[in-house]
């Protein structure tokens, strides 16, 4: 049984698709979902509020909001997701969009999804962009 799913969310279209996949997985498995936002060197200070799309998707899919956590972590997206395999998130599945915000199509270097697939010790779900066909 899957108890914890983590999804990376940076507000990009691919991240929004990944969010929907993660929440659907959580609904089907009964897992808790952690929506993780990586706060970079240039990130906003303080604690960014839960983006409306997160709450809207939770409602749309009929999930219990108490089982969906919004979490902001310092670091680059890859490091933040790799860390969340440990406590307190203890993610058993990582979900991520194919491309993050501002990334170039086909870019290998700097691809969070490829880095995760290479380094994560739990299953990684990479949600493709529509342009991937």
């Amino acid at each position: 049984m899957t108890r914890s799913i983590a999804v990376g969310f940076d507000g990009s279209p691919d991240a929004t698709r990944a969010l929907r996949v993660a929440l659907a997985l959580a609904r089907d498995t009964g897992a808790t979902t952690w929506v993780l936002h990586a706060r970079g060197l240039l990130g906003e200070r303080g604690a960014p509020a839960v983006p409306p799309v997160v709450s809207e998707t939770v409602t749309e899919l009929g999930l219990d909001p108490a089982r969906v956590h919004w979490r902001v972590e310092d670091g680059d997206p890859c490091s933040v997701l790799l860390r969340c395999v440990g406590p307190p998130v203890d993610a058993e599945i990582l979900v991520v969009g194919r491309r993050g915000r501002g990334r170039h199509e086909g870019l290998l270097l700097g691809s969070t999804s490829l880095e995760l697939v290479e380094h994560a010790r739990v299953p990684v779900v990479v949600v493709p962009s529509p342009s991937n066909g």
Partner: protein
């Protein structure tokens, strides 16, 4: 004493992204901090050189070097939400890494002086196989590995406000390098807890002393003073400083509250770790307020050279007085527990 300065910023104007805080003007400000000291004949400008591939490959994965070079030559772009590269960034980063090598070689040859490496992009976030946090190649790690290859024992003192996760990771299991970091916590990149103490072959060779937002210079000074016994027990033959100046109270990217005078005090403490003349070099890391950067560079370098400077008064009274002893206790406890586990496993 002589200052050996290398400005690796030749051509680095081409490593720039509109509106990004890691910008060419930073190197200009740092160099102004050097010229403010009016060193005359005591200022030696070391000739630049590019790092050789084998020198980079001591700390970076071959595949990463290939990909980064190809990415830049193809026009560059964003490597992560913080980190950019341009067409010329590969050449500039290789020169920045080579700058550190040139300075430590020049110091070794002279047997005297203080090195200051004005490089950008900075390096201490760069991992063996990944760029991050404005950093492409890990300049201080390339220099430290160069020295280790010659049989030296290197302490890297990292007083940048952000934890140097790349440097820590590269030397995680290397017993001939001691990594000591003071940094704001919590803050990017999210690593740097006191329980991160090094790998099985290098237990206790990583010492992290995280500090709360608002901490003043007295607390950071206390942190380096507290690190002194660990450094002395290590018996370093070289001191390399990841000299970020973004812990200054004017810096826009973080929340520590140091003055330029505090950096002078930190430089004095780091200088005390050096076993003799010609064995310390500072590497420019962060620092994004240009006036603070200029003043802090001048204060640090003048202190190491034994020259007077007009630095701001040291600061005190901020939060975090309990942070240093707590972190040090966690460090020692973790090392002891892991060492015991290792013994039991063997």
């Amino acid at each position: 004493m002589t200052a050996l300065v290398l400005n690796a910023d030749y051509g680095a104007q081409a490593h720039e992204e509109a509106g990004h805080p890691e910008r060419p003007a930073r190197a200009t400000a740092a160099l102004q901090g050097v010229t403010d000291l009016h060193l005359g004949d005591d200022l030696v400008v070391v000739g630049p050189r590019a790092a050789q591939r084998a020198e980079l490959a001591r700390v970076h994965a071959a595949g990463y070097l290939d990909e980064l070079g190809a990415f830049c030559y193809a026009g560059g772009g964003d490597l992560d939400p913080d980190t950019y590269a341009t067409t010329d960034s590969w050449t500039i980063a290789v020169n920045a890494a080579g700058a550190g090598l040139a300075v430590v070689d020049a110091l070794a040859e002279r047997g005297d002086g203080v090195g200051f490496v004005v490089t950008r992009p900075p390096g201490h976030h760069a991992l063996a196989d990944r760029a991050m946090g404005f950093c492409l190649l890990n300049n201080v790690a390339v220099a430290a590995a160069h020295l280790v290859d010659r049989g030296e024992r290197v302490v890297i003192v990292d007083w940048d406000v952000h934890h140097g996760n790349g440097t820590q990771s590269i030397f995680w299991d290397e017993p001939r390098v001691l990594y000591v970091s003071t940094h704001q916590w919590p803050l990017y990149p999210g690593s740097g807890r006191p329980v991160e103490v090094g790998g099985p072959h290098a237990l206790g060779r990583t010492l992290n002393l995280p500090l709360p937002p608002g901490a003043t210079g007295d607390v950071v000074r206390r942190a380096l003073e507290a690190a002194a016994p660990t450094v002395e027990a290590f018996e370093p033959t070289w001191v390399l400083v990841s000299a970020g100046f973004d812990a200054h109270r004017a810096d826009p990217l973080a929340d520590l509250a140091l003055s330029s005078g505090d950096f002078a005090a930190l430089a004095s403490l780091a200088g005390g770790f050096a076993p003799g003349p010609g064995r310390i070099a500072l590497f420019l890391e962060g620092g994004y307020d240009l006036a603070a950067l200029r003043a802090s560079v001048a204060a640090s370098l003048s202190t190491l050279l034994g020259e007077a400077s007009a630095a701001e008064a040291p600061t005190s009274g901020g939060p975090g007085s309990e942070a240093v002893p707590a972190a040090l206790a966690q460090f020692h406890q973790t090392v002891e527990v892991l060492a015991t586990s290792e013994e039991e496993a063997t």
